[in-house]
Amino acid sequence: MRGAPLTRAGIAILTLVIVVFVLLPIFTVFLWAFSERWPGAKLFPEAFGLKWFRLLIESGALVQPLTYSLIIAAIVVVASALISIPAAYVVGVKRFRGREIVESLALMPLIVPPIATGVGILGYYTQIGFKSNIWAVASVHLIGAIPFMFRSLAAAFESVDPALEDAARILGASRLRVLRHVYLPLITPGLLAGSVFAFAWSLNEFLLTLLVGLPDIVTLPVQIFRYVGGYYIQVAPVSALSVILLIPSIIFLILSEKYIRAEFVPGAGVKG
């Protein structure tokens, strides 16, 4: 539909406002990150360069946190898949009493404020001495990553024709064989979608990481927090770090646009 001229003008203005609203923060952060010299009174930086990225690398504020972030995210993807696959299989394929209860329980971790769980985990992990290592951090990332993995997988299992399993079983395949040779190839799209979200979750999770990761494990978001949490915010270095975290965000957007059904996306931003 095209509408009357007045409507069209209205839409044009609205579109412009939306574009500016969405892009302005990102644009500004890029300006700061690549600014070499920016006197306070000027509207734009006077010179552009990679000064702040160099500074981050030299001060060790980039490479180590980035490495930790990526290693932990990889662990989270694998672990969340291993934990979710069996449950997603029975919820997606079997009809049993209490199935809805399992499904709605899977949402509970998203309802409870992360700080409430965080207080308990902080005290508990401190007492058992399970802190400041990548496994502790990965375990708290799993709390939020599993619901996404589980939902994508359950939906994928649900869309598989149950006759395929029956046929394989009648021909003598064990349950594990069925899972590996019948379901695994068919649920791959769901597994990939779940992996993207688990990875994104882990990369962006911040509050619980801050609580159980310090002092040794500093991921990218925690590193950002170190710069912005105090009284004085150093805009340029934080912008450079933000740009580095925005790159995967843009990649995730493109990936989800191409390969992932929209209904998996909702809620992707529920993080501390």
Binding site: I143, P221, V238, G272
Partner: protein, 291 residues
Amino acid sequence: MPAVALKGRLTIVLFLMPITLFYALVWLYPLILVFLQSFGVPTLSGKPEVEGYPTTEFYREFASSPRYLTALWFSFWNSLVAVLVSILVGYLLALVLFLYDFRGKRFISVLYKLPLFVPYLVAAFMWWVLLVPKGYVYEFLKALGVIGQGAQLVNDPLGIGIIVANTWMHIPFVALVSLGSLKLVDPSLVEAARVLGADMRRVLRHIYIPLTLPGILASLQLIFLSMFGGFSVAYILGASFPTYMSVTIYEDVVQRYLWSIGSVQAVIYLISALVITYTYSKISRKGLRRI
């Protein structure tokens, strides 16, 4: 055959075991510890913070202190405002994308989703840069005369910065959900209305909005909860007082080691989140029935 049924049941339990064990250990158990600590039992603090536990002393402290009650109320109304603004703008955006063709529509329909994947912390920081004095948005609004000299848009007592950043984060989500349900509206209904002479405004009012809005509202309760329970946006853009309860808990536990009062807040925060979930789903279901 009971034997087969039993075996099937056992399989189900077995297959649900890993996920159940994980959440029991890493999620439920810590929450139980928090619950006990809120009565002064030293499950988290190590050594007792009070003589003679269990006690309701810390709950009484909570109820008598303006700091905590204000934080709870502030978290609630501030996130509610952000939710309402997000729903309004997100739905409008979805309607435009759904009803009209225009140049650059493809670009916009990808672009608007960008904030979905931006970490909260980064979003909070980006808006801080814009809303602080000398920031683009601050100076623009000042030049327009919308805000006066010395106005505060971040770390302000009304939480304006928090609302703006939360809205920015969640509009795409609302629009996405809305677009999905607008596409499900039976086109023959619209056709019929048009044939009978209804203009676009009437079609909107009597077909699209009543058919889609209740379902959209129902699927948006997680947004409310993620704002209500969120930490980073409130911490970076909020004032030192009043602020969100997530921030007061953080300050009490992490910076001042006050485990019991921190746990009381955590318990009440959690219960409030559950009450919001329950009330929200009740209201949206009632809305569904009316149509």
